[in-house]
């Protein structure tokens, strides 16, 4: 358990809305994203991808391609002779370059580096792959059945009972109490089954990288990623090189949402560069992004909830079956842990299933696994409340988890903000605003764990008293500004005096990926601790200057001063003054902090949405949307609001439009923004964010991560709104017009 770090204080910088340091570069087009870098003598690299959902690769003939003008390297799996040390990395290698089988439409089977795009594309066409097409499966329920086409053998964990295909890799169970006894006490029991389609993170910037690798086994890589240390470690493991010999620099990143927490092109580009002896740049097309990167799990979920007439949930069960594409991913387990997390339940059984299918390997997507689980659970919660004639917020308040509640996934909660979000939602004018014909209002709650992890920060005092801060996490939505703010707050200097940069892997110790809503929490904590470290050094320098004890010096408003009258009478020494003389008082001054940060502080949100359903077409319009979320402490309120708004809108897309559609042959039918339609400006109203601040005991300023929870409630919230507007319960996502219309007609 993390110790109590939180201390109440008055903030000067934290909580203001300062301009971000990378703003100018980004509004002028100067910022360099993954595809914006080039190198002298650079080649361009492209992948050849399987057109089949499932096929044995009998042979690959690259000889003709290799002989073509401008072609400098052709690689296949045979070039990756090293066997990665970890199982996870072995799966990643199998994903970035197919081994003996292509496991999904879009799976890379070979790659080319050439002097021009046209030469590379021509070479791809000249590679001959002899495939033996195998039966495929893409639906989660079908994949679990005995006799289903199987992707792998011998990977099933012992937790899986008899009677399932080898595609079922794992089963995990959470909960407590006795559900049978609990259901026996219920006056009302509702049981429903749900399905959700796979969606893509949909970041606008496709994956891209520039790799330079030589036969001295030393390399440099520039790429868009959520974690360049992860890229370094994974690529080094795949290529069989020491990680210290590979330096990775993170570009500006054009969105990730979890989808850039693994590697796709990077090991391929490094191998092409190694083989050709030249820098190689690779960029995915949108088609490749859709077919071969990122998507979420699709799911099939059963929920059963029993309640008394006066609104106490007596028991709940959930079966969360998630397919995560062609390799193992922990998604069903996360769904099983998160779905019921908002509630204080006596009796609960929640089971997660991990299933493989012939789809791309799922990557994380903002609170991975949780939104679909919340959709199913919160839909039944809504229906139960309706059945017993209780206001859906009151019903949730009656069963809400609090400090001291044993959570659905085991641990007992410390101070949490769920009840505060529900009370704020109930008190908000949105909840009581009138509704018109064909309109409905929905509410839903969501939970995410949040994460800390390995974090390393270095804070340097410059001779003129300004501060340089190095962190190791790609800035995906304004985090450099937040770090500068926290450093400025702690040191007592103006925000403008602190410049934060994202250091490369050779310049700072290991950092966990930008994921788990961890950066503002964990890197913020490390920044504050690094500033405190620097303050200790500055106090010692002041003490030495004054000839008094370091303990007799305190730090107030950006200056060292004697602590009380007994310490002596000296005028304060400011950061600027200490910096100006540091060369003579002991040398450079720098603070640093390294930790595996604990105490991330779980996060809850409640959303309200009004929808209008067109009974003629089944089209759903979002009329009004309000987000209530606990941020612990909002360091930069604009960027907290932005996370809440962005998460809600991604959820709106997931609820209403977005869907991976597979054909009979198992190929993806809608690999582009035209047919995979994400929300556009004209689809939406303003999204009102309401930030609540229930301090996280694990952070000095009370900060909780906010990035992920915002996508958890929308699926359920919108489904509840649509179900009330249409008068029929919607149990399948997306709620596209044909589906809504069919449901209305069937009613």
């Amino acid at each position: 358990m993390a110790k109590d770090e939180f201390e109440k204080r008055e903030f000067k910088v934290v909580g203001t809305r300062v301009a971000r340091p990378d703003g100018l570069d980004k509004v002028t087009g100067r910022a360099r994203y993954g595809a914006d870098m080039s190198a002298p003598g650079m080649l361009v690299g492209y992948c050849l991808r399987s057109p089949h959902a499932h096929a044995r690769i009998k042979s690959i003939d690259t000889s003709e391609a290799e002989a073509m003008a401008g072609v400098k390297a052709v690689i296949t799996r045979a070039d990756f002779t090293n066997v990665p040390a970890s199982d996870g990395t072995r799966d990643i290698l199998d994903n970035v370059m197919a081994n003996d089988k292509a496991l999904y439409d879009g799976h890379t089977v070979a790659a080319v580096a050439a002097t021009s795009r046209s030469a590379a594309k021509a070479a791809l066409k000249a590679i001959k792959v002899d495939y033996e097409v195998l039966p495929h499966v893409t639906d989660v329920d079908a994949a679990m059945l005995p006799g289903a086409p199987e992707l792998h053998q011998g990977r099933q964990q012992e937790s899986v009972p008899e009677g399932f295909s080898q595609n079922v890799l794992a089963r995990s169970q959470y909960g407590h109490g006795d559900v049978d006894a609990g259901f026996a006490q219920a006056d009302v029991i509702i049981e429903r089954s749900f399905k959700t389609a796979a969606t893509h993170q949909g970041y606008i910037e496709p994956h891209a990288c520039l790799a330079t690798m030589g036969n001295d086994n030393q390399g440099d890589l520039f790429c868009c990623t959520q974690g360049h240390y992860m890229v370094r470690n994974t690529c080094a493991d795949i290529l069989g090189m020491e990680s210290g010999r590979l330096r990775v620099t993170a570009s500006e990143i054009g969105g990730g949402f979890g989808g850039k927490t693994t590697v796709f092109l990077e090991p391929v580009a490094l191998m092409l560069s190694k083989k050709s002896g030249k820098p190689v740049k690779m960029t995915m097309s949108r088609d490749e992004v859709m077919r071969a990167s990122g998507p979420t799990a699709s799911t099939s979920i059963d929920i059963k909830i029993g309640t008394t007439r006066d609104g106490v949930i007596t028991a709940a069960t959930g079966e969360f079956r998630y397919q995560s594409g062609c390799f193992y991913a922990m998604n069903g387990a996360l769904g099983a842990m998160c779905g019921f997390a908002p509630y204080d339940l006596e009796n609960l059984k929640s089971v997660g299933w991990e299933v493989t299918t012939n789809r791309p390997k799922a990557a994380a997507y903002r609170a991975p696994g949780a939104p679909m689980a919340a959709f199913a659970v919160e839909s039944v919660v809504d229906e139960v409340a309706k059945e017993i004639g209780m206001d859906p917020i009151d019903f949730r308040l009656k069963n809400a988890a609090d400090e001291g509640t044993k959570s659905a996934y085991g641990p007992t909660y410390p101070a949490i903000g769920l009840r505060a979000t529900l009370e704020a939602a109930k008190a908000h004018p949105h909840w009581s605003a009138p509704l018109g014909k064909n309109q409905g209002r929905g509410v839903g709650c969501g939970f995410w764990f949040n994460f800390g992890g390995d974090t390393c920060v270095s804070l340097m005092l410059n001779p003129d008293g300004t501060v340089s801060l190095s962190e190791g996490n790609p800035d995906i939505g304004g985090s450099r500004a937040s770090m500068s703010m926290m450093a400025a707050e702690e040191l007592g200097v103006p925000y403008e005096n602190v410049r934060t940069i994202v250091a490369d892997t050779a310049s700072l110790g290991q950092n966990e990926v930008t994921d788990g809503s961890r950066v503002t929490f964990a890197v913020g904590l490390a920044t504050i601790k690094a500033a405190r470290h620097a303050i200790e050094i500055m106090k010692a320098r002041a003490a030495a200057t004054w000839g008094i004890d370091a303990e007799a010096v305190e730090w107030v408003d950006g200056a060292a001063q004697p602590a009380g009258p007994n310490a002596g009478k000296f005028p304060p020494l400011t950061v600027k003054e200490i910096a100006a003389t540091m060369s003579n008082t002991g040398g450079p001054i720098a603070g640093h902090f390294e930790a595996n940060a604990e105490g991330a502080g779980v996060s809850f949100g409640t959303h309200i949405c009004d929808t209008e359903v067109d009974p003629e077409t089944g089209a759903v319009k979002i009329l009004r949307y309000t987000v209530f979320q606990d941020a612990g402490k909002a360091v930069h309120p604009d960027y907290v609001e932005g996370q809440l708004q962005g998460g809600a809108v991604q959820g709106i897309g997931w609820a209403l439009n977005e869907e991976y559609i597979y054909g009979e042959d198992g190929t993806l039918q809608n690999a582009g923004y035209l047919d995979y339609r994400i929300p556009v400006a004209s689809d939406l109203p303003m999204i009102e964010p309401v930030i609540l601040e229930i301090p996280n005991p694990g952070h000095p300023y009370g900060v909780r991560g906010v990035g992920e929870t915002g996508i958890v409630p929308p699926l359920a919230t919108i489904a509840n709104a649509v179900s009330r507007a249409a008068g029929v319960r919607m149990t399948s996502l997306p709620m596209s017009p044909p589906k809504v219309l069919a449901a209305i007609k069937a009613n």
């Binding site: 087009g29 970041y203 606008i204 949108r286 582009g672």
Partner: protein, 159 residues
């Protein structure tokens, strides 16, 4: 392969380049002129990240061939600020946090400027429909729409 010689004007400067017949204007801007502010999000006209002005009209530069720029004028995000003075939209996008990752920002700024050039007092709905071809996955559009409306008001006030 024989290449096509093109003479054109980009951000007020006369430029010429050689391009292949199937190179898009976006390819030329990014790969030959090193104007990487215009982004490729889809190469199919669906995301708007590559938005530029061609003879004053908004186009997806991924749908225009490099050869088609012959004798025309192209304005990209790199030409939007006047020296070190930002366009009010650029200033307000920073001040009002209208970007998160920022990869959609160049296209949205070029499109929004084009709107305000012709329509100094747009309604929220007009802004939303005008920008409907510019995808942003991060922000949910709220702060973008507000920044454009606020800039329009500011520019009308200043005029």
């Amino acid at each position: 392969m024989s290449r096509i010689h093109v003479t054109t004007t980009v951000n007020g400067d006369a430029v010429d380049y050689l391009c292949e017949a199937d190179d898009t204007l976006l390819d030329v801007l990014r790969d030959q002129l090193d104007l990487t502010g215009s982004k490729e999000g889809c190469a199919s006209g669906d995301c708007g990240a590559c938005t530029v002005e061609l003879d004053g009209r908004l186009v997806c530069s991924c749908l225009v061939l490099g050869a088609e720029a012959e004798g025309r004028t192209v304005e990209t995000i790199e030409g939007m600020a006047n020296g070190d003075v930002l366009h009010p939209l650029q200033k307000n996008f920073i001040e009002k946090a209208a970007l998160q990752c920022g990869v959609c920002t160049p296209g949205i700024l070029v499109a929004a400027k084009n709107l305000l050039d012709h329509t100094p007092d747009p309604s929220e709905e007009e802004v939303r429909y005008w920008l409907a071809g510019n995808l942003c996955r991060c922000t949910g559009y709220d702060k973008i729409i507000r920044a454009v409306l606020d800039t329009a008001a500011e520019m009308r006030g200043a005029a």
